[in-house]
Amino acid sequence: MKRVPQALFLLSLSIIGFQIILMRILSVNQWDNFANLIISTAMLGFGSAGSFLAVFKKRLLRRADTLIPLLMILCPVFMLSAYRVSQAEAFRFDTYLVFFSAGHLLRLGGFILLYFLPFFLCALSIGLIYVRNIGSIGRLYFSNLAGSGAGGFAALVLLKYLFPHHALTAAAFFPFAASILLIPEKGRRIYFTAHALFAALITLSIISPLPPSMSQYKPLARTKLIDDAEVTVKKSGHHSLVHIIESGRLRHAPGISLNYAGHIPARPAVFVNGNAAGSIPGYHGDSDPLFENSIFILPYLISDRHKVAVISSGTGTFVSHAINAGTSEIDAFEHNADLLVAMEKWHKSNYPSVYSHGSVSLYNIEARAFLRNTDKNYDLIYLPSAGSFGGSSGLDALKENFNTTKEALAIYWNSLNENGSLAVTVYTDFPPRATLKTVYMLSEMLRSSGISDPEQHMIGVRSWNAVNFVVSKRPVCRETIKNVIEFCRNNSFDPFILSGISHEEKVYFNYIPGTELFDLTEKILKGDTSEADDYLFYIRPATDNRPYFSRYLRISKFKDLMQKFPINEIPFLELGYLIVWLTLIFSIIFSAVLTILPVAIHKSGGKKIPVLLYFGSIGLGYMLIEIIFIQRFVLYLGKPLYAVTAVLGILLVSSGAGSYFSDRIAPGGKKHAYALAAISSVLIFYLFALTPVLNLTSGANIGVKSVITLFTVALPGFFMGMPFPLGLKAVGNSDEDSVPWAWGINGFFSVIAAPLALIVAVEAGSFAVFSAGAAAYLTALVSVRKIKIR
């Protein structure tokens, strides 16, 4: 046991760090949708290692002293090799081509198997340690979870100072250090080859680093192809990898009038994780003809705006508009600190930033948390734009956005003064989705505020590719209607929502065939949402319970979709969501083959059903609760980074403490059942009390919030750390052969939990995921008495 907990700590730290760094790499070179894939792959390694132990337990235990450090050193060897191989042209998959070419689908499968190996080796060494020291499992599980918690922090520190591929190299040192701690004094020669391999790979990674190969379809990759494109700023940080590119050919002028005959100047383009995040606006001293000739001027035409708030202000385009409109007080909210730092760096060697303008206050927090707890009132609040020009093939479908939920809109609405307005721009898509969802969202907001005729408070102006909506506290007056009509006529725009306008006037300059968009809009505004609710796409407003504004795909409408679109195009309507389904399918297949099948073939014990129920439930339950906690605290803490780090860290460390404490509890006994009952009770209580408590304290300072987060997460976390070691002991004491089987089952359900949680969250909401987590622990409670053979 000497030095085993320390080694276990280091190994666990590394494996969690490796996971988080891999997620970053995939979000940069592919898209964000692969986080679940990485979690599932890691869990696959863990589940499969349990099964492997079941089959080869005796042989492995005989050589455990030698094997454990050997596996630990092989783990980073495979980490580094998997990364290098996965970047090779022959093995690299492309998100866009996964649904286009069978070859890329196979490559995706290969990717999972490739990265499965380091996780498998790591988990096998952990499993061997557990099986070998079953009596001290509580203490060891503590080291495991504490190390995992520390791994989250370590990854964030590494990503703050290093580019992702360098951070991955750094993470590989931890399992190496763990192995050094456990190498026996005798027989060191057998480690020589593994050490030499590790040294060679580390040297290669340092002297010949391999940056992630980006999908050719990522906007950054495409922009770099422009002859004179030059990356002038590159910044890696907690949140993201930011690039600023300059080229004489990069221009940005959304919503510009077709009648504008002036020049559109080149602007530096900003990319966050390889995705376009906008362009850096011109120096605030300049007048901006692009603004004056665009649909964005609409809210300023309707009324004077002295106090303006810009939500998710990004590169500052809308802040620049407010400055150009002569606004005296502008509050800009942007949570991505890395983006702001990168821009600051660029502005230092160029002209001053719009954020440095005397009228602008920049807040590096989520807007709704600020607005909820301030008495400030605004004349105008600009919401983040919805969609993107041409669409993104639905790659943002599952991106949580708490800034565009029903609850967020209510906060914004209450932050307006009596003449205030909300404004939002939507890129039009066909068949219409984002436009209709925005109309639905704004209309519901007005109705909830007691306005029975939303159309009287709303203006929409449409260019050939975007619609700008302005929703005001006061009804739209005749004078305004007249001004808007004139504005549209001068700029070849069409009124989309404007009281008393005929259909012909709505399509005069920018004709759209058919009347579906307009008819549905009219019905939604009148409060008749039956057709909208039955529409081909999901266009109901996003809520905090289902904060997926960009999700439009409806499983129930697949047959109808197939009537309208060629089958090979459907994936490109909503790649993001389909990738999660694909992850689930891969997870089930690989997990069944690599975790269930080996132990099913290998006869071990006769208590498979109770063990399946117990370990399956706690595997599923733990992951569901972890994922949903992260989602809930993103909103509460105001920054996704804080939420992920805090929840993961607190949950894992408190679970570690729980497992340490579990050494004092008799496995399979009453107290074991009490622990499960405690988890279920706390989770059921949280189902109804967590949101009100978090809402009530959302205005508190970060210190108070941290304490509340700590207690809220640690309480169930402490008890959630007990069922696994207690269950293993209960099974191990009576039927040792069933221990790996139990581990395998736990792994299988953990593998499928990540994509499953997301699918349930999208289809039924986070409340349903939380309920499923609580139900899983209740199932474990029911089956706990049966896992122990008397």
Partner: protein
């Protein structure tokens, strides 16, 4: 769940399993049945050797009813979309057409079969050079390829009877509107990679500029028609 599985498997393997259609089959099955009727367009689509303008590894899928990757984050449009865009600008023999975004060169070749001169601009050097070489080998003397920024158009050869923008931006460059003849037509596809969702026709009239969204009828798959 079953449906999703079916779609995923089918969409990935569909093209893999289908045999290479001939150009004639492509024209009959993918174009005429979906309503493309302009004789010159159909004739051009029959004539242009699409398989010689796609990367080698895509040749056997050249006449598939789908866009194909050509590298550099670009695709060659689905044959139907190329035909639809060509038909939408009402091309005539004496026309001079500007294309923004040469890509594979296929759209330029189809246009060159119908109109007198095609001027095409590509911003990505590698693509432009490849298209220039391929189009030269196919003998298109009336296609002029320039490696440049499409934002400025090609003022030396303006005004144009029509402009085909294959790589759409979120704005229409003022220079393009200016270089379009009054009465001329400009066509722009809007959508993401591998899926053109709509086509926008820009018409320059005496009264100003107007746009018209054109919805491709391909939303009814041809295989389902009787």
């Amino acid at each position: 769940m079953k449906t999703i599985l079916m779609i995923m498997i089918a969409s990935s393997f569909l093209n893999f399993l289908t045999a290479l259609p001939a150009r004639e089959n492509m024209v009959n099955a993918q174009l005429i049945r979906r309503g493309i009727s302009h004789p010159s367009v159909l004739s051009a689509m029959r004539k242009v050797e699409r398989h010689k303008l796609v990367p080698d590894n895509m040749r056997r899928r050249a006449y598939d009813d789908s866009p194909l990757p050509i590298g550099y984050g670009q695709t060659i449009s689905q044959p139907y979309i190329v035909a639809f865009m060509t038909e939408a600008i009402l091309p005539e023999k004496n026309h001079r057409v500007l294309e923004i975004g040469t890509g594979s060169g296929y759209q330029a070749a189809v246009l060159a079969e119908i109109v007198s001169e095609v001027y095409t601009i590509e911003i990505v050097k590698e693509l432009g050079e490849r298209a220039k070489k391929d189009l030269g080998e196919l003998g298109y003397g009336n296609i002029h390829v320039k490696l440049a920024d499409g934002y400025y158009g090609w003022s030396e050869h303006a005004p144009f009877d029509a402009i085909v923008v294959t790589a759409a931006a979120e704005y229409i460059p003022p220079a393009l509107v200016e270089q379009l003849k009054t009465g001329g037509r400009m066509i722009i596809p809007v959508g993401s990679n591998f899926m053109v969702q709509q086509l926008v026709l820009v018409e320059k009239t005496e009264d100003g500029v107007r746009t018209r969204s054109l919805m491709p009828v391909r939303f009814v798959p041809f295989t389902r028609e009787k």
